[in-house]
């Protein structure tokens, strides 16, 4: 059983490359970089507000791409870097041009929270599935996804929650029965305990809202420490028997 994967989501900001470097030092395996959008339907208050502030600081597409390139420079060639954004941004930039520019800046894939599975098949992206997804859609998402499947662990928006959603277990079971691609669980995972609980089910986790809060409150050093605490929680998850 391979080590559990840890993905950390950060909003694109001038300080993000340094934060990303700290997250990798703390043990993040991959990084999602949020390109802010004015009307982020999938996001709860923390990421929505972070996006609002990023836009106020001028983080439009070109500057987000520059942030991505600088992040790539700091974290080296091996860490997967995935811009996460909304369809309106690609629509305005041009879908193919967006992917070309993102790749040039160091992106390895994309996540577009509101782009339907069937749309823009020429643009590689990590697909999301949710507790409400039918078997048919999970199968199709697994076929089309780029590398791993993003399990939305709860019917809801991004943001910290008190406990790991009871919906995750059923979703993991259904997805496992349909596909062999790695499954990373996100939405609502914010503490080492929750990371361990989710990773006991899935192949890895995504932490977003809490990482953004920690970075805002205590900068790169605090983020590195927080990510390290998630890393050790994941490393302590026993491999399944058999």
């Amino acid at each position: 059983m391979a080590a559990k994967r840890l993905s950390v989501y950060l909003m694109a900001l001038p300080e993000t490359p340094a934060l990303a470097e700290a997250a990798v030092a703390g043990g993040a395996d991959l990084l999602e970089i949020g390109f802010p959008f004015s009307d982020p339907l999938a996001d709860g208050p923390v990421i929505r507000l972070a996006g609002e502030r990023a836009l106020e600081r001028g983080m439009r597409t070109q500057r987000c791409l520059a942030c991505l390139a600088e992040t790539r420079r700091l974290v080296g060639p091996d860490v997967p870097l995935i811009p996460m954004t909304y369809a309106s941004i690609l629509e305005a930039h041009g879908y193919e041009r967006f992917w070309a520019d993102a790749r040039t800046a160091g992106a390895t894939s994309l996540i577009v929270a509101d782009l339907p599975l069937e749309a823009a098949p020429e643009i590689p992206r990590v697909q999301l599935v949710a507790p409400t997804s039918t078997e048919e859609r999970i199968r199709e998402a697994a076929e089309r996804t780029d590398g791993w499947l993003y399990l939305v662990s709860v019917t809801g928006t991004t943001g910290a929650r008190a406990t790991v959603s009871g919906q995750l277990e059923g979703l993991v079971e259904r997805a496992r029965a349909l596909t062999g691609v790695p499954l990373l669980a996100g939405f609502g995972i914010s503490t080492p305990e929750q990371a361990a609980a989710a990773a006991a089910l899935a192949d890895g986790i995504v932490v977003g809202s809490r990482a953004i809060q920690v970075a805002e409150e205590s900068g790169a050093a605090g983020l590195e420490e927080f990510v390290a605490s998630l890393r050790s929680a994941l490393d302590a998850v026993p491999a399944p028997a058999g």
Partner: protein, 376 residues
Amino acid sequence: MSVAERGLFGAYGGRYVPETLVPALDELERGWAEIRADASFQDELAHLQETYVGRPTPLYRAERIGDGRRLYLKREDLCHTGAHKINNAVGQALVARRLGKRRIVAETGAGQHGVAAATVCARFGLECVVYMGSEDMARQRPNVERMGLLGAEVRPVEFGTRTLKEATSEAIRDWITNVETTHYLIGSCVGPHPYPEIVRELQAVIGRETRGQILDAEGRLPDAVVACVGGGSNAIGIFAGFLGDDGVRLVGVEAAGAASLGTGRPGVLHGARSSILADEDGQVADAHSISAGLDYPGVGPEHAHLRDTGRAEYVPATDEEALAALHLLAEREGIIAALEPAHALARALELDAELVVVCLSGRGDKDLAVVLSHGR
């Protein structure tokens, strides 16, 4: 037809939503297809339209303001709750009941759709949560109070523009979170497929009635049909009666500061591709209008398509022009219109056409404070 092509109006429409909602939209699409083919639904809807909503609404000839034109007003302001929004709300409440959803979420700008949603929820015993921008709550106070009286919970939206755009986003987020129990009662012909289609069909009663009424009154079709366009539901409803009549000009009137069709660009907002007010990076811009119901940077995808094909034309009216038309109608005809249709009236009064129908989509009680604060 592939899934990606469903619900398209030319290059517009579709379904741009987080995955969580896709199965609910599929369920709604199936449920809607079944229910609209069901005679008992159509009978129940027709009965409610007649006995509860107050349909058919009159087509009134406004003789004192036509200025040489024969000007008719389709009196949606006389509907129960005071605007066309109830046509859609009644129909969707029947759909929600059929789908077994006991909880309704809705967004509202002017408060008219919120009141309509609260009304049908009271009538059908459904729980009702309405999201409303705090700025709109301040300028449409009477409707906030009406919703409370009807038993709905109004949740203020305190971020971003604090208007209809943010209220819609919050309603969709609530729906994502409570999708198993909740029907999203969207208030205009916007949003992901199948909403634009459902709202169009439920508002098409306006156009069907108008067509029959004008033929009775004048023995011919009008030269032009004029309606205000916020999300576009009253306009698409009245246009629907005349889309096949090439000789009838269809004119949509947007608020000058919220002209998603006039000055917008293709973009994605609230689950659909349409013409939206946005910058070159796709960030949605703020709209500005004295009228809360038109203060929205998006528009229904079918209107974007009608604009591109040239079947309908879209023109702006300013706050001042709408206010002047509102005063004129009040003083000459004894009708206090809402600020939204006052935009349509303002343009209709200048049209180079002999026989014109304007959709008077709502009454102005909700706007008294705003209108009086601007003086005469």
